[in-house]
Amino acid sequence: MLILRVLQTNSLHGYAIAQRIHLLSSEVLAVEEGLLYPTLQKMLLKGWVTAEWGISETNRKVRFYRLTPEGRAHLKAEVAGFDRVTQAIQEILRTA
């Protein structure tokens, strides 16, 4: 879900995705290679992202991943679901 969110604003290559997540979460969350790429492949399979070639900051050809409309829809659904669950948990933590 986080990967999808990160890709919402613009398309990034694999390393950039990991970096951004790490950065934006104030270094709390780190996505390892072993988790990132299988997940990216699964998202390619499901059609939530597409991959296209681009040039990286270091002048190297690398694949950039971009969110597709289905991906956006899925992201919205997942975020909504996550919100619902978090709210429910918070309610319990507050009142129980």
Binding site: Y15, G34, Y37, L44, A51, T58, V62, R63
Partner: protein, 837 residues
């Protein structure tokens, strides 16, 4: 759906996409290294995990297994070759049998709408006939709304074309026959409803393609030519196509419109006689109507018909419909025979698979080293099991491709030798291919599963599996050999038993006076005249009359219970001189007086079965008020059931009313063939409109015998195949067992044991399986052979000679199988063997 597409696209672009992923991950690594983080991890493993997401790993593994399997099989070419051979035989036999069944019963005829065609036959609880009267047919045709069309075929005895010596087979059909089948004429036109439906239309005839080639040299100018059929002029209007498919598998040489039958056969009342059941009826369902609905309507019509014409319809009669769109209209008994053959061929496959299973088990021992290593490295048992199964499937596929080739070759030979219809081809259709695939899977399960399980669980030392396999092989081979032996005995019996009458010099002359409209008195006059003229010929020894001639077109048979005995009775009506003409010995009593009433002559077996121990003369026979007295006993003469030992005959004296249906039997002093032209001349002279069918009994008998001989040939082949397979299997297994324990044998012999004792110790493990196999095999064969009774003429299904022969052959194979490897073991170079580690 989109996901599936993406997955498939990945599959096709795999290399490129995997390379891209690799470059991605490498880039990631570079960047991470720059930032100072070096947590590498296992690159390959991560890549594999990423690729797993696409869901094609099972395919990867399969390809790996197949490649490995091919390598393994290529490494031991001897084993592979033999395994493929054994499988080819086992599967090939099954494919051939199924192809045959497919051609006969499952393949639709290449005509229009074959699935709408029905064959309609008259049935009642007590009787069954495949033909009906033409007026009945017309009634059904005119009133049945569920049938869009009704066709009828009338078979007649062969007719003479111009002045040919050999008559030609002929059929009369209703004018809609060819149009309904959608046949296109090869040349000219075919019989159609517009031009050939009235008796006043000019007479026409259609030739079959083969006949046109043979008799007229394939000359297209015969269209429009006038020829003479049974002395009547008729115009040839067309030729049927080369690959013409007719209904019911009949293949006459010439076809004529039904309404013109009385033109050719003068005096014939076939078209108007409600009592004369002689046409075969087919119907075409109206589109969208199921057969059951049509049957119901026909039932209602049958009841209606009975009210109008009770003589044409039996009590409780109904019309039974069977699918008519296949080469053969299947009767229930035929399905039984087919099932029997199927079981036999499956048995052969079982033997082949048991064979192979044993060999694979044996090989498993040699591979224990390799498999041990794989397990040590970390392969799961499931993985190894899967891989072994893939190997079996691979072997089975190879075997079944070979088997398919073998089966098709056999069918092709069969079609050409048995002169099959030209539209049949040996190339497998989807049903046969599907069957082959099924066989492959079944076979690989049979022979692959057990060894694979054993190997995966690393428990090869147990010999139970091996013993079971040997036992199963012995049992299955035993059944096959016993069945083959019984069938061979039956055919031998059929070939060499004396039929009981002197067929060598007999000629039957059938004038079919009834079909020409002769009254009994006129028939009597004709028959007397022709008999006296024939008797006067120098080459003729004796002449007489019979109603159902030997090997004739009509047979009458009844199964009755008389005084508690079940008898198979073949009645006949004859003149007094019949027995002398036929060379049937008169054992006691006397022959008939002319037209004697209430007298019956019985065959010897009937007398023996019916009145055991008593004098058969003057015994009474028959139900009803007037019983017939036995006046004589003759020797058995199965003139219409050559190979059936259970048949008994009864003869009554022919009366005046029987005369229109009588056939003349002529005994020649010398060669009967030379009499035919003379007989023809005499009959033409006597009555030009009557053209009797003249047949030499000797030729008919030989035809009958050659069919039996062909069957015997096929059965012997099956027996040989069974023997071969059993031999290969047992030899292989025993040889392997011995070779496994070569070292042990060498040590024992070196220590002074007698070779024979050592060998018997090694082979002892097979003692019980063989014995149990033989017992089970013989037992199942005995139980199942009851089903064979229908084919085992004259031979009991527990025939001791047959069983003894089969078991003897099998024992011989087993002993040879044990001794062959034994000889090798005995000639071991002990020093070499013990050194070799």
């Amino acid at each position: 759906m989109g996901e599936l597409l993406r997955r498939t696209r990945y599959l096709f672009n795999r290399r490129r996409l995997d390379a891209e992923l690799e470059s991605d991950m490498e880039f990631h690594r570079e960047m991470a290294a720059r930032a100072g983080r070096n947590n590498f991890g296992n690159t390959l493993r991560m890549r594999e995990r990423a690729q797993e997401a696409w869901g094609w790993t099972w395919l990867d593994r399969l390809v790996q297994d197949v490649r490995y399997g091919i390598r393994i099989l290529a490494r031991s070419p001897g084993f592979t070759a033999m395994a493929v051979l054994v499988l080819a035989i086992g599967i090939g036999v099954n494919v051939a049998a199924f192809s045959l069944f497919d051609m006969v019963a499952l393949k639709p005829l290449p005509v229009r709408d074959p699935d709408l065609i029905l064959r309609l036959e008259r049935r009642s609880p007590n009787a069954y006939t495949s033909e009906m009267a033409y007026p009945s047919f017309a009634f059904y045709r005119d009133h049945a709304k569920t049938l869009s069309a009704a066709m009828a075929v009338l078979g007649v005895p062969p007719m003479q074309i111009d002045d040919d010596l050999q008559p030609t087979s002929a059929s009369f059909v209703t004018p809609n026959y060819f149009p309904e089948l959608g046949t296109q004429a090869a040349y000219g036109r075919l019989i159609d409803s517009a031009r050939d439906d009235s008796a006043t239309a000019p007479p026409t005839v259609v030739l079959s393609y083969g006949f046109w080639q043979r008799r007229f040299g394939g000359d297209p100018s015969v269209i429009g030519r006038v020829i003479h059929l049974s002395k009547k002029p008729v115009t040839i209007i067309g030729i049927t196509p080369f690959d013409f498919a007719s209904l019911g598998g009949q293949r006459p040489d010439i076809w004529m419109p039904m309404v013109q039958q009385p033109y050719f056969i003068e005096g014939s009342k076939v078209l108007t006689d409600w009592n004369d059941s002689s046409v075969r009826m087919w119907g075409k369902l109206a589109p969208g109507t199921p057969a059951k609905v049509a049957e119901q309507e026909l039932r209602a019509l049958t009841d209606q018909l009975r009210k109008q014409h009770p003589e044409a319809v039996w009590d409780q009669e109904y019309l039974q419909s069977s699918p008519g769109g296949h080469m053969q209209v299947m009767q229930p008994e035929m399905y039984q025979v087919a099932a029997m053959v199927g079981v036999l061929t499956l048995l052969i496959l079982a033997v082949a698979c048991a064979n192979l299973g044993g060999l694979m088990l044996a090989r498993a021992v040699t591979r224990s080293h390799e498999i041990g290593i794989r397990i040590a490295i970390g392969a799961g048992r499931a993985r190894i099991f899967r891989q072994l199964c893939t190997e079996s499937l691979l072997l089975a596929t190879l075997g079944s491709v070979a088997g398919l080739a073998v089966g098709c070759a056999v069918i092709r030979i069969a079609i050409s030798k048995l002169d099959g219809p030209k539209w049949l081809s040996a190339t497998p259709d989807w049903r046969v291919l599907l069957f082959t695939v099924g066989m492959t899977v079944a076979a690989s399960l049979f022979f692959g599963l057990a060894p694979a399980l054993q190997i995966a669980r690393q428990r090869q030392q147990r010999t139970i599996a091996r013993q079971i396999l040997v036992g199963a092989q012995v049992a299955a081979s035993c059944v096959l050999l016993i069945v083959a032996a019984l069938l061979l005995r039956a055919t031998q019996h059929a070939l060499y038993t004396d039929p009981g009458f002197g067929y060598q010099q007999l000629v039957s002359v059938d004038p079919q006076l009834g079909h020409h409209g002769y009254t009994p008195a006129a028939s009597r006059a004709y028959l007397d005249q022709i008999q006296s003229r024939l008797q006067a010929l120098p080459g003729v020894t004796s002449v007489s009359l019979v109603k159902l001639p030997p090997l004739g077109h009509a047979v009458s048979r009844a199964r009755r219970e008389i005084n508690g005995h079940a008898l198979l009775m073949y009645p006949n009506w004859v003149e007094p001189g019949f027995f002398k003409t036929m060379n049937i010995p008169l054992l006691t009593g006397r022959t008939f007086y002319p037209a004697e009433k209430n007298a019956v002559i019985v065959s010897e077996s009937m007398a023996r079965q019916q009145w055991p121990g008593k004098n058969p003369l003057d015994q009474k026979l028959g139900d009803g008020d007037t019983k017939d007295t036995v006046v004589g006993v003759v020797g058995d003469a199965h003139i219409n059931a050559l190979s059936d030992d259970d048949a008994t005959e009864q003869y009554w004296a022919a009366q005046q009313d029987d005369m229109p249906g009588m056939t003349v039997m002529v005994r020649a002093g010398g060669e009967p063939g030379s009499l035919s032209p003379t007989i023809k001349a005499i009959s033409e002279n006597l009555a030009p409109t009557v053209l009797p069918e003249i047949r030499q009994i000797k030729l008919l008998y030989h035809e009958n015998v050659s069919q039996i001989e062909q069957v015997a040939g096929v059965v012997s082949l099956i027996g040989i195949v069974a023997v071969l397979l059993a031999g290969i299997g047992i030899i292989g297994l025993v040889a392997f067992t011995v070779s496994q324990r070569t070292k042990e044998i060498a040590i024992r012999i070196a220590l002074g044991a007698k070779p024979a004792a050592v060998l018997s110790a090694v082979l002892r493990q097979f003692r019980w399986p063989v014995v149990v196999g033989l017992v089970v095999g013989a037992g199942s064969a005995a139980a199942a052979s009851r089903l064979l009774r229908v084919a085992l003429y004259g031979v009991s299904n527990l025939d001791p000679a047959g069983y003894a022969g089969a078991i003897g052959v099998l024992m011989a194979i087993v002993i040879i199988a044990a001794l062959l490897p034994a000889r090798r073991a005995l000639r071991l170079d002990l020093a070499r063997t013990l050194h070799y580690d």
